[in-house]
């Protein structure tokens, strides 16, 4: 899939060739730094960006047999919220400040089905209880500003779950909250995965969260998936130089280092992506071919794909 934004300053190739699949009950993590295209990927799945300037220029999003990229708007509206729910990074701006939490959850519940007011309210309360929100009945009558950041984020998740979706897209749900609250939210997401066997796309820049929740992880750089594999494989045996760099430069609480390895340079500008492999200006193992040719995503093991010229088309390590 490719999603480009046509702006006055040029074409922003936010998503520039992303391929992955998500199985029932699986949690796939999209990992990458700011501006790498991970959020636009998520928005593209549900066509939740402004068009124009944005456009999915190629690719498909197949969900339960429907291509979400070119089905009628009416059809995708039925999918949004009901089959695939989304939780955004900033609960503060995603909630409406002038309605109570209860009203907002009930609005969701009624958007895809008819329920009596009492019914909807009962359902909303159960959802908040599932989110471990204390005194859920009380919380229904609260306005967003009366809640703490962690409660708001959990209310958002409750809202996302209101129509029993099969799949949840969580876009950096723990970025704006403290570590202790983050632990609570991660716990809730893990519960959802095991209890409701929900499929989750979890978007993050934090590899340590990937280990906690993910089954597989896709590392995104410059709008492309550069590596995709089971989480254990990615963390213990990363193949792409970028993935290796990302893992190495993360300060870790269980090790003592005198000096952190770092990746030189900065993340690329999506208007002006480097030729060839988008990572080559920062890559330690750069070769001539990297400057001119974009590497394809190849299998280096049955479940491990990587896009890097260090591996030939058959997936063998050459350099």
């Amino acid at each position: 899939m490719k999603t480009w934004f046509y702006t006055r300053r040029g074409i922003v190739k936010a998503v520039n060739g992303v391929d992955f699949d998500l199985r029932q009950g699986e949690c796939l993590c999209l990992v990458g730094e700011s501006g790498c295209g991970k959020s636009v990927t998520a928005l593209s799945l549900l066509r939740l960006f402004d068009s124009p300037p944005g456009k999915i220029v190629s690719g498909k999003v197949m969900f339960a047999g429907i291509d979400l990229t070119n089905c009628p708007l009416e059809q995708i509206r039925r999918v949004r919220g009901k089959d695939i729910a989304m939780v955004f990074q900033n609960a503060q701006s995603a909630l409406n400040p002038v309605f109570t939490i209860g009203d907002q959850i009930m609005e969701q519940i009624n958007a895809h089905g008819r329920h009596s007011r009492a019914d909807a309210r009962r359902k909303a309360r159960l959802l908040l209880e599932e989110m471990n929100i204390p005194q859920a009945e009380n919380a229904l009558n609260m306005y967003p500003h009366q809640m703490s950041g962690g409660m708001k984020q959990r209310a958002m998740i409750a809202m996302g779950l209101s129509c029993d979706p099969a799949m949840l897209i969580a876009d950096e749900p723990t970025t704006a909250v403290d570590v202790t609250i983050r632990a609570q939210i991660m716990y809730i997401l893990q519960e959802l995965k095991t209890r409701r066997s929900m499929s989750i796309i979890f978007i993050t820049h934090d590899l340590s969260l990937v280990r906690e929740i993910g089954d597989r992880a896709a590392v995104i750089y410059g709008g492309r998936v550069v590596e995709i594999a089971p989480v254990e494989t990615i963390l213990s045996n990363p193949a792409h130089p970028y993935t290796r760099g990302l893992i190495a430069c993360l300060p870790d609480i269980s090790t003592d280092l005198k000096r952190l390895p770092s990746i030189p340079g900065n993340t690329p500008n999506p208007i002006d992506l480097p030729e060839g492999c988008t990572f080559h200006p920062r890559c330690r193992d750069v070769m001539d071919v990297c400057r001119s040719t974009e590497p394809a995503l190849v299998n280096i093991a049955s479940v491990h794909k990587v896009a890097c010229h260090l591996y030939d088309n058959a997936g063998a390590f050459i350099a």
Partner: protein, 323 residues
């Protein structure tokens, strides 16, 4: 070897904010953002200050420079009583204590070339002569890994990591002895965060300066700090050498914080989940402020506030578990 002379001494520092409501202000109470903090920072050391948002760690940093005027307490820097300084002496002091903020976007003037931003401190502190200033700015920029030729550029032409380097260059302009770094890498991408942390360590080793490194990220603090202070609701609840604190946390809050940080290379261990959020600072709980969320709460915690005392030599904690 670290010289054990305190560079900065803080004693029982308090910063209260009056909160009012309504058109005709009606007092609601006081927020005790910093409530009786005592700390030393030794020459050349990095003191990590850790806590969740709203615990008062940024206010403490600002109060040291009197960017926020403390309500009461004592601050002494190299033997000078900071709180009794007049405006002019305070300016001299601020040359020796500098601050680097979290967000370089909002702390750099977007309409001023970065060279001027860096050189502004030199003007304020009386380095006259554009030629001399230009040379010093060029040296500073090279020191933080930027080309001196970039001095004419504007902040928007730089990436986040580069802007933070500019913020650091600006702080270094007056040869400070202490830099208060308020979440300096929180807004940066991980791959760039490592570059800036390494730079800060290099500068420290070269110039022998001390940092107060304010952060909510324990992994970053573990990397950079020599000693770590943990703050909760305006008070220091634990203070120890880095190794000691991470290996042997005493306060249940520190334990919970450590267990909330999922180590990348660590297997699953049992995790301490704190229930609820930080209570409202307008109405701090009676007794120990942490008792509402503590997993090891006892009867006494609800009634009496624990004293901050040395439990093991060099390791301080405020908790009734260690009477």
């Amino acid at each position: 070897m670290i010289n054990k002379v305190p560079l900065l001494q803080i004693k029982n520092l308090k910063k209260y904010y009056r909160v009012t409501a309504g058109l005709i202000p009606r007092p609601l109470g006081e927020i005790k953002a910093v409530d009786g903090v005592s700390l030393d920072i030794i020459e050349g050391e990095v003191l990590g200050l850790v806590g969740e948002s709203g615990c008062g760690k940024s206010t403490l940093g600002k109060a040291i420079l009197r960017l926020e005027e403390p309500t009461s307490g004592q601050i002494s820097f190299q033997g000078t009583d900071v709180l009794s300084l007049n405006k002019w002496d305070l300016r001299t002091l601020r040359g020796k204590i500098q601050i680097v903020f979290q967000d370089p976007d909002s702390s750099l003037d977007p309409r001023m070339p970065v060279g001027d931003s860096i050189g502004e401190a030199l003007i304020v502190h009386g380095v006259s002569g554009a030629g001399e200033r230009g040379r010093r700015v060029a040296r500073l920029m090279e020191k933080v890994g930027l080309e001196a030729g970039f001095a004419e550029r504007y902040p928007h032409e730089f990436s986040g990591g580069q802007r933070q380097r500019i913020g650091i260059a600006r702080a270094l302009a007056m040869d400070p002895r202490l830099i208060i770094a308020d979440e300096p890498v929180s807004a940066l991408d991980v791959s760039v965060q490592a570059q800036v942390l390494n730079l800060m360590m290099d500068i420290k080793d070269e110039d022998g300066l001390a940092y107060m490194f304010v952060s909510h990220d324990l992994a970053v603090v573990k990397y950079i700090a020599d000693r770590v202070a943990v703050m909760y609701m305006g008070q220091i609840v634990e203070l120890a050498d880095k190794e000691e604190l991470f290996l042997n946390p005493l306060h249940p809050y520190t334990e919970a914080l450590l267990s909330a940080v999922a180590g990348l290379r660590r297997g699953g261990g049992s995790r301490i989940l704190l229930s609820g959020d930080m209570p409202s600072p307008l109405k701090p709980p009676a007794g120990c402020r942490f008792h509402t969320r503590c997993h090891r709460v006892m009867e006494i915690c609800r009634a009496a506030e624990p004293a901050f005392r040395e439990v093991v030599p060099g390791h301080y904690a405020a908790c009734h578990l260690y009477p």
